[in-house]
């Protein structure tokens, strides 16, 4: 089912994501399209993820549309000014892309072109607002569009925070993003279900669907690394221990992800699986979680 229809229809939605490679080789994307087609409600294509230069999200989304899938065009505010952003939104519409996910984007110094100029002409909230203007038939300068867009706009939120300020700020930002037109949310990876529940108790008042982020663990080392370095990711110690003790790390990682998804099913309106190299295993995770 397409993402918007799934969410509108109250189905527990499942999305995942693919990251284009650096170069013109699209064989892996084609293979993943075969594997994921019909298994999920939407596939995000990341936009120069981690500020590392790669094949574009727009072109990759277009390939997925051709395959009959429903891609989510991720757009960061880091690399394009308002002219390029709006133009790419028009291009996306023409190419049959229906969903856009707006993010600020990692700072260039975190990527592989550390001497690049950052843009941020628009911030996330302003880009969401811009897309809604374009959906109404106008560009940012107030000019009427000859053919308006009809894009389903999503945004991101970090449900678990290390400081009270950050937690409260995230809720405020979620509310602000909704006020300018965000229609669904994807979250940072959730491992602490209790903390996520606390967030959802507050977020439920906004009545906008939330897809909880899920990243399957591959090793205890990966778990520790994310715990230490990835903003908004907090793993309970017992989960790291389980990974450390596991004989079959992959099976344990997938089982933990499936268990999380079963737990999240009652708390959120869907899940967003970020498999980070394990995209081919997404159908297996869904089977394990009884979501296939």
């Amino acid at each position: 089912m397409a993402l918007k229809e799934a969410l509108d229809g109250g189905k527990f939605a499942v999305t995942t994501e693919v990251g284009p490679l650096k170069g013109t080789d699209i064989s892996e994307i084609m293979e993943l399209a075969e594997i994921l087609n019909g298994k999920v409600d939407g596939v995000n294509v990341t936009d120069q993820q981690s500020a590392v230069m790669r094949l574009g999200s727009l072109a990759t989304c277009s390939i997925l549309v051709e395959k009959g899938m429903d891609p989510v065009f991720q757009m960061t505010c880091r690399d394009r000014n308002r002219i390029a952003l709006q133009s790419d939104l028009l291009s996306a519409s023409v190419l049959g892309i229906k969903n856009v996910l707006v993010i600020s984007g990692d700072y260039p110094t975190l990527g592989d072109h550390i001497d690049a100029k950052d843009v941020y002409d628009l911030d996330s909230e302003q880009l969401i607002w811009t897309i809604n203007r374009m959906n109404e038939g106008y560009d940012l300068a107030g000019n009427e569009l000859q053919g308006k867009t009809d894009l389903f706009v999503g945004a991101v939120v970090k449900p678990v925070s290390d400081t009270d300020e950050s937690f409260e700020l995230q809720l405020t930002m979620m509310e602000k993003k909704i006020s300018v037109g965000a229609r669904f949310f994807q979250t940072q990876a959730v491992y602490d279900v209790e903390a996520f529940e606390k967030f959802m108790k507050q977020a439920a008042q906004f009545k906008v669907p939330v897809l909880a982020g899920v990243i399957p663990l591959k090793s205890a080392g990966m778990a520790r690394y994310m715990n230490k370095n990835v903003s908004g990711v907090f793993l309970p110690e017992h989960m790291i221990d389980d990974m450390a003790k596991a004989k079959d790390k992959a099976a344990t990682g997938l089982e933990i992800a499936a268990q999380l998804m079963r737990d999240l099913k009652d708390l959120s309106q869907g899940v967003h699986i970020m498999a980070i190299g394990w995209e081919k295993k997404v159908p297996d995770i869904l089977s394990l979680a009884n979501l296939a």
Binding site: L110, D121, M173, N229
Partner: protein, 231 residues
């Protein structure tokens, strides 16, 4: 005040390739305070260039190289020496280098890089920064400027990159938006965070034409008399 640092010596030597006689200009203002273009640095540069076989035809340290009237009064007595030189090497901020280039009809080489202070203005500097954006947002941000305090200059709120209150760009830097949030909370004004800040008009950040000139009488007089001499 502008902060500067000397360019790598090898880079300066590249600029001077094919030239023999160089005249060094320093500045007793900010460059002196930055220890990049005061008298000791000018003398040190003279020695290093001579060590590389260059001829230093002369040098001068102007009180404020940004002040054209002062520059003219200091350099005019040295006009013959300067005009016999192949070029000038200026150890100063970008303003001083441009002033020297505008005043002297000789090639001028920059000897320093000017360091970005992130919008530091005001006479008695603290940690506050102003980008002179021409459309002040401080009403909505607890009196803390998001353009300068947030690494990405985000106007409506934070990105998702902060960890333990620190910025994703630099772990030594606090997340600017968490500072803004704390200030607004402290003053009971969290409601202003819900105000949507529309896309910024960056034109307002460009200097107006009249800001690019000066009305200083001394400068105008110097400009008028400039045609007569070469310095």
């Amino acid at each position: 005040m502008l902060r500067s640092e000397q360019k790598p010596f090898e880079e300066i030597l590249r600029y001077l390739e094919g030239e023999d006689k160089v005249f060094i200009v320093g500045c007793d203002g900010c460059a002196q305070a930055s220890q990049t273009g005061g008298l000791p640095q000018v003398l040190e540069m003279k020695e290093r260039l001579e060590g590389e076989g260059k001829t230093v035809s002369g040098y001068s340290v102007v009180d404020f190289l940004c002040q054209k009237a002062l520059v003219a009064s200091r350099l005019r007595p040295l006009e013959d020496t300067i005009m016999e030189s192949d070029s000038l090497l200026v150890l100063c901020c970008g303003i001083g280098i441009q002033t020297a280039a505008a005043m002297v009809k000789k090639p001028v080489h920059p000897g320093c890089n000017t360091i970005n202070l992130g919008g530091s203005r005001g006479e008695w500097r603290g940690s506050e920064r102003c980008m002179e954006c021409g459309d002040c947002l401080l009403e909505y941000t607890g009196g803390i400027c998001p353009l300068t305090v947030c690494s990405k200059g985000l106007r409506n709120g934070p990105c998702g990159g902060a960890s333990n209150g620190k910025c994703e760009v630099s772990p030594e830097k606090p997340c600017g938006w968490e500072l803004i949030y704390a200030r607004l909370k402290e003053t009971g004004r969290l409601d202003v965070l819900k105000t949507f800040i529309p896309p910024k008009d960056w034109n307002k950040m460009r200097p107006r034409p009249e800001m690019l000139s000066t009305s200083m009488w001394a400068l105008e007089q110097m400009d008028e008399s400039r045609e007569e001499g070469t310095v």
